[in-house]
Symmetry: C2
Subunit: 355 residues, 2 copies
């Protein structure tokens, strides 16, 4: 059973919650916009369903509602940003703005972020570049749930990569994907429905393949993208995200990344500060005139979209399903599952805010 | 049956062949070093086994032995390089040098290349950054053999990504992988051995899954990294490589990328010039002191290498197998299959050069 809420109603509610946590008004608005971009785009696992999680981390003293987000080191095309323990939902957009400004001046901008928290969906941050005729990139590390190839230990997060590329008349190209075969959110859905998961998603505690949706809970792990014969490639990708996000910035990496859930304590021997992100922007016209680039992107996109397809299917351009979902949900509202609504109501009660 | 040749013997021979094609001495040396890095590192499909292919392309007038490789557009952190139809083995190292120089001045350097040809292994170019305490990246597009998710048409190449990251006392991290489940070279080996390939590598002409090593030859296609439930992610990665390499630079992209084999003609309606590469360099100390970064990389690498593993296995650090292979082959020589030796002898005869 699900209830559908207008976007504006969820926006006002969520913003009020962030204000109640003590976020300055601009930060509360920014955090809300970032968080709800997931619900709009149909990535339900990363949207308001996680609001209660952020609140619990704040209650545990692990999120700073009034961070002083600032550059601690920089060159013409790079910066390291210290998120001061703030919401990733606030820290990452501010860091992305720095990347955009660097790109304006130097052609490209690359910002590695430490001392942050979960930043919502990667795609939202990458897409910030599009309005400036820039290519945007966003990555983040996350708490360890993934076993590298041959490993029994969980050493990597689902470590997503997003790349947004502007087009002309065609909708923009927006890729946003976890570097595992399946994102953790998909596993949670299978757990709730009590159905098995496809092979290649998870392994048991002894490293054997499994189709049990509860395998990760029982000491197993998520598997890197690539399946039986290619998981070393997903392991490479997840590692690159971890290193760019955290070893470059001075955040925690690998098994030291602090957990999102407040009931689990962060490792007692941190190797850095908070979790890390990596944000990039490349001005298209740092390579060729923007109009020329976009005309070729239009040709690229329409060629792929119009390819011969398996019967009953169509070749999908990355970003198409999420863009169409966002158009619908902005008009028709955002459906939330019963347990999510209950969580929001309990958060509302805590702060005296009505959903 | 295989014959083993000392590295120096193959080097002298290959260099003589490039000189005979009319390459200037420095270019011949550079092309040889680039090409043979594949044989040293155990990527046999991309080394001297392809020398005859480069010669045939040159005979067909599709490789310029005396290119004027130059920057046609730039900003402080970016450049577009025109390869003037030269060997990718020469064009890409020159473009990478420009990326390194940009990174020295601006923190990072990003070079998109048009009008080039195949550049050997991506990892070699990325690794050029390591000696400068920089992170190196290299990508290239390639002739279309890969069907995007749901597509019957072949629209992408195996489009590899390489990322090289310097460590301190540990060996450097070097990831280098095709964005397909299996590289085309592995398929060719299965064809030669007349054995089936694992599921998820290829599809038939009608889009159905196949284990037939000849499926691609018979109108089928290679599949993007990710297998049954994740191939859209490999499709995203291959697309990003294609766009960064060719839409940014003005090279041919998607189905317009010219074939490596001389007996197939390039498309009659090109959308750009030659094939494209994308090369990047990031100075580690554009983010934090290099010694600090490398100490944490050492910790990252030893943590992963020493993880609990499936019985009889060890967690492999990207680049380990190729580095160890190169150490052996430099000492013990490079084994070449009989057909490869025959090809080299026929190339030698053409130019009056003895193997």
């Amino acid at each position: 059973m699900s209830h559908t809420f207008p976007y504006n109603q969820l926006f006002t509610f969520t913003e009020s919650v962030f204000l109640s946590m003590g976020c300055p008004p601009d930060d509360a608005t920014l955090a809300t916009e970032t968080l709800l971009s997931a619900d709009l785009r149909g990535i339900d696992s990363h949207g308001v369903a996680r609001l209660i999680g952020y609140v619990r981390l704040w209650e545990a003293g692990r999120i700073n509602a009034t961070p002083r987000v600032g550059v601690v080191y920089e060159t013409p095309s790079t910066a390291v940003v210290d998120g001061d323990g703030g919401l990733g939902l606030v820290v990452a957009p501010k860091a992305m703005n720095i990347a955009l400004e660097k790109a304006r001046l130097a052609g490209t901008g690359w910002v590695s972020v430490k001392n942050s928290n979960h930043f919502g969906i990667a795609g939202y941050h990458a897409m910030k570049a599009l309005a400036h005729d820039m290519i945007g990139m966003a990555m983040t590390n996350a708490s360890p749930l993934v076993a590298p190839t041959y490993s029994l230990d969980r050493l990597l997060g689902t470590n997503p990569i997003a790349v947004a590329i502007p087009a002309g008349e065609q909708p923009d190209f927006v890729a946003d994907f976890a570097t595992t075969t399946a994102a953790n959110g998909k596993l949670e859905i299978a757990q709730r429905k009590q159905i098995p998961v496809p092979e290649g998603w998870v392994q048991n505690a002894d490293g054997s393949g499994s189709t049990d949706a509860n395998a990760v809970k029982n000491g197993g792990a998520l598997l890197p993208l690539g399946g039986d014969t290619g998981s070393h490639k997903g392991y490479c990708l997840g590692s690159i995200v971890d290193i760019f996000s955290a070893v470059l910035s001075g955040a925690n990496y690998g098994p030291w990344v602090p957990p999102f859930v407040a009931f689990l304590q962060p490792p007692a021997d941190p190797v850095g500060q908070g979790i890390g992100h990596f944000l990039g922007a490349m001005r298209v016209d740092a390579f060729r005139p923007a109009a020329e680039f976009k005309a070729h992107m239009d040709n690229w996109i329409s060629t792929f979209r119009n390819a011969q397809a398996v019967e009953g299917k169509q070749v999908i351009i990355p970003g198409d399903p999420e863009r169409i979902m966002a158009q619908h949900r902005l008009l028709d509202g955002i459906p939330l599952l019963e347990p999510v609504v209950k969580d929001l109501e309990s958060v509302g009660k805590k702060f005296g805010v009505t959903l």
